[in-house]
Structure formats: structure tokens, C-alpha cells
């Protein structure tokens, strides 16, 4: 019998809700069938932990005496450039921002040992962070320079805001060229020397809700060790991709835009990371509880690694040149076995997303719900799904004055 989110929340409050992880749900549905599983299980928890470059944090550091207005000037946090084009003492630090004097890739491959993601991790770890700012000075904001240390506990707001993360499926990256390449998918050895993938597969949130039936604007989630919310579809959200019979996208598809109070997050689940030759970023832990409303939702949450396929993409040519070809498809069970075959060659695989942490996130969320500390929320508005007019457009470059057609 179909359930509502309200009914499930009442069961959570009563301490009677049956909560399982997406991994545990696979066997439950296999043994009992989707109908019976939907009757018995109230919530399925998911998790993912991977590098998410479109991450950042808005902070308000409080007003200095005399006052300063960062907007139109410049600000750095531990030397890393923060976006200051906001009101007086608001800043946005993006995960991929770098110190002004970082050599980048001038000595290739660059190390990118410290960037915006590391600043965010330091803030969450309650480490003091050096804020430096230059401003042009106004009558109301006369100060032109500021150098101080700040700490997460002392500043006003700190909100993690990620315009795109939690990708529904992702490419497998390989390198067919004859030299090593350094990518956001890790270091790829020449001549198909290795293959890197980046999804928690059967534990991944949006792969357990392929048509976004339960996840929408306002959905309460596990974010960075604390509680966060989905505030929009993520940038590059692309639901209209080719799908398997079970409805699972065969290529990168849906994405989420999420936000949450940084002050209640945990540095274990927000880790500044460095990709050799590519850049700095933030590795984010995210988990979504899926209310098992009916048998259809139960069936979706029972998706297993062998049901999920993705494309193998050459990051030496196809990806950088944005050409459409790929080197075939592979399922996550094979990827996780450690070896895949591409054109007759056995290629070792590795994941950039951590399955161990994804599992920990799903289990943590399960515990929160079982203890009644975390209630589910009904979306205020659904996200665009299959059939919507959302289109993932490339950039068509043109000169000023040239017609759009």
C-alpha cells in the first residue's frame, strides 16, 4: 500500500520506522519482491563521497572597526583568492580557487597542494584562517586594508553552497595516448594503463532514484557530515540521456545544487584534495534518504552494481576535444572487480569516489533516522526529469555582432 512522507515521518517519530541502506535493500527486494519490500521498508539511505569541484562556501566575517567593504576590492583566505564581489563583509570561497602565487601548471604537473577546498576543510576543522583584504575605501566603509585571523566559531554565517554535485552516474576515464595525462579523473597512464571511475554505484543517491521521484527542492540530506538541503537542480542537470531498461542513466545525467550550515559539518566528510596537474578541490560526503512510497520506489532503490552501466571515455582526445565517441560501456560490478577489458586489453580500475565512506554515510544517515534525529522532507517542487525541456547545451562561440543562428 502506498505511503506518504508524512506517514513515514510519524513512524520515525514513534521509533518504528524500518530504515535500510541501499546496499541492504538489494537483497531485501531480491528475496521478498518489490511489493513486500515497499510494505516493510520505510526509508532507504544512500551515500557518496567524491571530489566535487563545484563546491564552495559563503561566509560573513562580521564588520571590522572602522568598517571595510570587500566588494570591488580583493580578499584572500590563507592566501587563496575569495570572491569579494558581494556586500561589505560577505565572501565566497570556491573549492578550486588557488593562492595568487601558486605556480599552477607552470612546472608541469602542478601540485596544487592548497586551495579553496583546503580552506573550507580548515574552517570546518576550527583552524584559524588568515583573512587579508584590500578595499578602495568609501565614506561609509573607510578602511582600505585588513589582515586578521578568523575562526569558524567567531564569524557570523558560513554556508556550504554547491551549485553542482552528486552526479547521477559518471564516465570511466582512460588514456589512449602514449603519454601520461593529468586529469580531474586522476593520473591516467598511457596506452590504457589504468581506468578511473567516480561513482558509488549502487549506493549513489541519484542512481537509487533514477527519475527523481522523491528528491526535489527542499529535500533534507546528509551533507558534509551535517544536515543540508537540495535547493535546485545542479548546473548541467541533464535528465534526458539514454537509459537502461531499469531507468538508470547510461551516462552522466542528473545533478543537485545543495547547501547547508558549514558550522555543523565535519572535516571527515569535507576534505580538501589535490589532483596532480589538474587543481585543488573539495571531496564532499553526501547522502540522501529515499522514502519508500511504493513498490516502484522500492524497485528503484534495489538497483545493484551490475544493473548500472557507464561509458568509457578517452581523456586524451574525446573529452578535451568534446567529441562524442566512447570506448564502450561497462557495469559497476565489473569496475569494482578491479579489472575491465577495453578492446581486448585488460585494464586495472580504481575509484576516485570512496565506497567505504559512501557506506559510512548511508549507515550514519540510517542511524540518525532510526534515532529520530532526522526527519524526511517532501520536495517543495520536483526537479526536471525525463520529458522536461532541460537541455545540456555546449558553448557555441561567436564574435560580437555575429547572429545567434
Amino acid at each position: 500500500m502506498p505511503k506518504t512522507v508524512g506517514e513515514i515521518n510519524q513512524r520515525i517519530r514513534d521509533g518504528q520506522a524500518v530504515v535500510v541502506t541501499a546496499e541492504e535493500m538489494i537483497d531485501i527486494v531480491r528475496e521478498k519482491g518489490a511489493e513486500k519490500a515497499a510494505d516493510e521498508v520505510d526509508v532507504v539511505t544512500t551515500g557518496t563521497f567524491g571530489p566535487m569541484c563545484s563546491s564552495g562556501a559563503f561566509i560573513n566575517v562580521g564588520h571590522s572597526k572602522p568598517r571595510i567593504k570587500f566588494g570591488g576590492g580583493r580578499a584572500t583566505l590563507n592566501g587563496v583568492e575569495a570572491y569579494a564581489g558581494l556586500a561589505a563583509v560577505d565572501l565566497y570561497v570556491g573549492a578550486t580557487a588557488l593562492p595568487l602565487d601558486d605556480p599552477r601548471n607552470k612546472v608541469f604537473p602542478g601540485e596544487f597542494a592548497y586551495g579553496g577546498g583546503h580552506v573550507i576543510q580548515d574552517l570546518v576543522s576550527r583552524k584559524d584562517v588568515v583573512l587579508r583584504a584590500q578595499a578602495y575605501g568609501t565614506d561609509c566603509y573607510p578602511r582600505r586594508e585588513l589582515e586578521t585571523v578568523i575562526n569558524l566559531d567567531d564569524i557570523n554565517e558560513a554556508v556550504l553552497v554547491n551549485p553542482r554535485n552528486c552526479y547521477q552516474n559518471y564516465n570511466v576515464a582512460v588514456n589512449t595516448s602514449s603519454k601520461t595525462i593529468y586529469t580531474y579523473m586522476g593520473v591516467l597512464k598511457p596506452d590504457l594503463g589504468n581506468a578511473n571511475y567516480c561513482s558509488a554505484g549502487q549506493l549513489s543517491p541519484l542512481l537509487n532514484d533514477p527519475f527523481l521521484r522523491t528528491v526535489g527542492i527542499g529535500t533534507r540530506i546528509f551533507l558534509g557530515g551535517g544536515v543540508g538541503y537540495v535547493y535546485w537542480q545542479g548546473t548541467q542537470h541533464n535528465p534526458n540521456v539514454e537509459r537502461t531498461k531499469g531507468g538508470v542513466p547510461r551516462a552522466p545525467a542528473g545533478t543537485l545544487a545543495v547547501a547547508g550550515d558549514l558550522k555543523q559539518m565535519d572535516p571527515e566528510f569535507l576534505v580538501g584534495t589535490s589532483f596532480l596537474g589538474y587543481g585543488a578541490t573539495l571531496t564532499v560526503g553526501l547522502g540522501i534518504p529515499i522514502p519508500v512510497l511504493d513498490a516502484e520506489v522500492a524497485q528503484y532503490t534495489a538497483v545493484s552494481d551490475c544493473d548500472i552501466v557507464t561509458k568509457i571515455v578517452d581523456y586524451a582526445t574525446s573529452y578535451p576535444q568534446r567529441t562524442p565517441e566512447n570506448l564502450g560501456e561497462v557495469d559497476y560490478a565489473t569496475l569494482r572487480s578491479g579489472l575491465i577489458e577495453i578492446g581486448g586489453k585488460k585494464v586495472p580500475t580504481a575509484s576516485l569516489s570512496s565506497y567505504a565512506k559512501a557506506r559510512k554515510i548511508a549507515l550514519t544517515l540510517k542511524k540518525w533516522i532510526q534515532e529520530g534525529r532526522f526527519l524526511l522532507s517532501e520536495p517543495v517542487q520536483p526537479l526536471p526529469s525525463v520529458g522536461s525541456n532541460v537541455e545540456f547545451k555546449p558553448l557555441r562561440e561567436r564574435s560580437p555582432g555575429v547572429s545567434r543562428r
Binding site: 584534495t273 578491479g338 580504481a350 576516485l352 570512496s354 567505504a356 565512506k357
Partner: protein, 200 residues
């Protein structure tokens, strides 16, 4: 050589053990083919895991293979000519608190030292096959791996041979061009080299 395989001539003799040692050559040995003599005099097989010259000293990390007695004599020989020898306890150090359990190290390691625990999916590291190339440390996104060749505090680390206290003389006692002694070579391998070829 395939790890684990032992040439016939070592069978039944002293237990052959593979060990990693760090050598530090003083400036006066910089131009000497010290490692060649390890092979020629002491019949040792070794793999050079790393070699560099810094502050006027040459440093090698070697993985030695051989029977126990040959290795003992080699270590005595090295000690005699003034090479500082220390067993290597660890080739890399992994900070599990920093590790995010991704798999960047698994894909890049040329010696396949990293693998996943089938139950927990956490990363495990096999020190034995490590060739100390440091690739894992370069690619580790949270920088949880340090390519440190952690030297044992004393020579008596487990599974690592030690320099005999009496057989070897301290470096300070050695003259700059004094010939190494043949003493202490249990296999008498160095009898075949009368020292004429040794240029120091």
C-alpha cells in the same frame, strides 16, 4: 627476479630473505662503484629502489636478495669502507586519518602494492612489494601518503640483518684510502677478488 623465487644455489643454505636497506655514502666514495662490489665481492642480488645525491652524500635504497651469510659479509664490507647502512622499516607512510579511501593509489602503483579490503573497501598496502617509487604520494588527493623511507631506530629491526659489532670497524677509524678487509666474509666470496680491482 620474480618475488618469492629463490635460485637453486641458495636452497638449503641460510634462509634467504629479501630486505630493504638504506645506504649513505660519504663524499669520498661518491665516485666509487660501491654497488658493483656488492655484486662482485659478495654475490648479492639487489634492486636499486632509489638513488640520489644530496649534501655531497649519495643515498641508495636497495632491496637485497641473497643468503644470509652473503648479506652479512656485504654489510660488513660496506661498514668497513665507511658506508652508513640502515635497515628500512617502511618505504612509505600512510596517514589513515587523512586517507579518504579513494583508489587513486591503486591505479597508479606500478608494483600493485595497494588493494582493497574485500569487506570494508578500505585501502590496504603491501609493504613487501613496494619499490619506493613515490608515485602514490604524488597522486594521493588528500596527501595522506608520504614517501618516507622510515629508517629503523636500531639495526635490529625484525627481519632485517644487522651489522656485526665486532666484524665491522667504525667509519671514523678508516683512513681515506684504506683497503677494505676480507675478514668477516663467511662465504669467502671475496677471496676471488684480491683487492687489486678495488680502487679505494
Amino acid at each position: 627476479m620474480n618475488p618469492g623465487t629463490v635460485p637453486d644455489r641458495w636452497q638449503g643454505m641460510n634462509e634467504p630473505i629479501r630486505t630493504k636497506v638504506a645506504l649513505e655514502l660519504p663524499p669520498y666514495l661518491l665516485r666509487k662503484p660501491v654497488l658493483c662490489y656488492l655484486a662482485k665481492r659478495c654475490e648479492l642480488v639487489f634492486n636499486i629502489l632509489s638513488a640520489n645525491v644530496e649534501d655531497g652524500r649519495a643515498r641508495f635504497i636497495l632491496e637485497l636478495e641473497g643468503k644470509h651469510s652473503d648479506r652479512e659479509s656485504a654489510l660488513t664490507f660496506l661498514s668497513d669502507i665507511g658506508v652508513r647502512v640502515q635497515p628500512v622499516k617502511e618505504t612509505i607512510s600512510m596517514d589513515k586519518a587523512k586517507c579518504t579511501e579513494c583508489g587513486a593509489c591503486i591505479g597508479i602503483c606500478p608494483a600493485n602494492c595497494f588493494f582493497r579490503d574485500a569487506e570494508t573497501w578500505e585501502i590496504r598496502f603491501d609493504d613487501l612489494s613496494c619499490i619506493a617509487c613515490g608515485e602514490c604520494a604524488r597522486v594521493c588527493p588528500p596527501r595522506a601518503i608520504s614517501p618516507k623511507f622510515v629508517l629503523a631506530a636500531t639495526g635490529r629491526a625484525s627481519g632485517v640483518s644487522t651489522i656485526p659489532p665486532s666484524g665491522g670497524r667504525r667509519r671514523q677509524d678508516l683512513g681515506r684510502r684504506e683497503l677494505p678487509r676480507k675478514q668477516g666474509c663467511p662465504s669467502a666470496a671475496c677471496e676471488r677478488y684480491d683487492g687489486a680491482g678495488a680502487p679505494w
